[in-house]
């Protein structure tokens, strides 16, 4: 029995069961299309779609939207040259794109979070019940600055954003990849004992200002913002591992990319 786009989608959905409301839909392509090769990526960018096609992929599994908004609404983009060129590439090649955002975050454990913990070498430090809460071993005296250096090295980012004192000692970390919203971020940071919040992306007027005030009040709190893409991208490798295990004959590539923006 050949593997189709729908076979893969069923496997991705299975750990959660179908969600009624979700952005995880087939953005392009046909569910019945046979799949020999899958490309897994953070975002189906124009360059990654081309690379996937050039390397023989039939299906891209992407965590982020294809058309620059969470719901992948496209009415407002009609006639836009960037949108039209991307759509043309997708339609002319028939490449399938499935978004895997809500489901993977609903996996037990969250597939992005558990993949990121592996990437950072922190899986042993996570609380059993709350993987996003980490306790560093007491013999590893860490500072905010040392954690920042670790993040830069492991995630391949040139710089990140910091609020607080880089020399502050860190024992308990709240780790929230992506952009779960200011309240979620602040709810974690304000927990007793959490010294440092590592966030993917924040709104400046929310979490950033909270931490600024906390620090100015003398509370021992700090914030590191890594950028959204690099805070989640490596987590998508868990999807590749899952598919390789389930479908040994399937070829699975993971395509990483630099962030869309760089320091200037």
């Amino acid at each position: 029995m050949s593997i189709t786009v729908q076979t893969i989608i069923d496997r991705l959905v299975a750990p959660v069961g179908p969600l009624e409301q979700t952005v995880d839909t087939l953005k392009s392509g046909s569910p019945g299309k046979p799949v020999r090769k899958v490309a897994v990526a953070m975002t189906a960018t124009y360059a990654i779609i081309k690379q996937a096609i050039d390397t023989g992929a039939d299906l891209i599994i992407a965590h982020e939207p294809t058309f620059y908004n969470h719901l992948d609404e496209t009415n407002w983009l009609e006639g836009d040259p960037v949108y039209e060129k991307k759509r043309e590439l997708i339609e002319s090649t028939g490449i399938a794109i499935f978004r895997l955002h809500d489901y993977i975050h609903e996996y037990e454990p969250d597939g992005i979070l558990s993949g990121m913990l592996l990437e950072l070498g922190w899986d042993a430090y996570a609380d059993a019940e709350h993987l996003h809460l980490l306790t560093l071993p007491s013999d590893e005296a860490e500072t905010v600055g040392a954690v920042a250096a670790h993040l830069k090295q492991r995630l391949g980012i040139d710089s990140l954003l910091l609020a607080g004192d880089p020399a502050m000692a860190v024992s308990r970390i709240g780790f929230l990849p992506g952009a779960p919203g200011g309240r979620t971020q602040m709810d974690v940071l304000r927990q007793g004992g959490i010294d440092l919040l590592i966030a993917g992306e924040t709104n400046e007027w929310e979490t950033n200002e909270y931490v600024r005030d906390a620090v100015d009040m003398g509370f021992a709190k700090a914030l590191l913002v890594t950028g959204h893409q690099k805070s989640e991208e490596a987590g998508m490798a868990t999807v590749a591992a899952m598919l390789r295990e389930q479908f040994p004959e399937l070829l699975v590539d993971v395509i990483a990319s630099p962030p869309a923006v760089r320091r200037a």
Copy 2:
């Protein structure tokens, strides 16, 4: 007749008339309180509130929320040590805080935008009807990199985010301080002839990815992200100027601050 908090609010509201729905409310203090000194700031941070009190201000006019969310909802913050300490400072001193966000953006012209154009020395370049669209003089050959350097120098920021080619020639700029949302940002950037979008704050999966794709497709487009605070802060100086002109006896301070986060 003495100037009160309400006198000032009436003056700030007057150019627009009362809005039915607005976040521009009196966050603390009493409308009837006499005001001899006003402090104007981007955000009423803990440090800025203290500085305002120490320098004798009765009223802070701030562009951003006081309690880390757009609507300044506080139920979810009850018992939070940062919130409680800030509230205690505010209540114990009786300092008045008025948010001036929606009104100033509704001024004709937008007070933030016109203030930022002055700060950047770009007021002569703005389209008469659409101040956020700029045409650089043809004898000033500019590149994205040169514009970035100008922004850094004028706004006092150490680095900003770039998508696109720093060597690309720039003639027409879309300038959107703050965080007006991805669609607004993309709507400006995709206009024919706009080479460069300067944004305060973006969502990574929206405007950043749009520009990444545009550049990878060969379109001559670029994006510079300055950070939200520094993209608007100097615009609040127009409020100070307006109040000084209207109330010559009023003392008006403008309090700037570094961004809440810095590069690490």
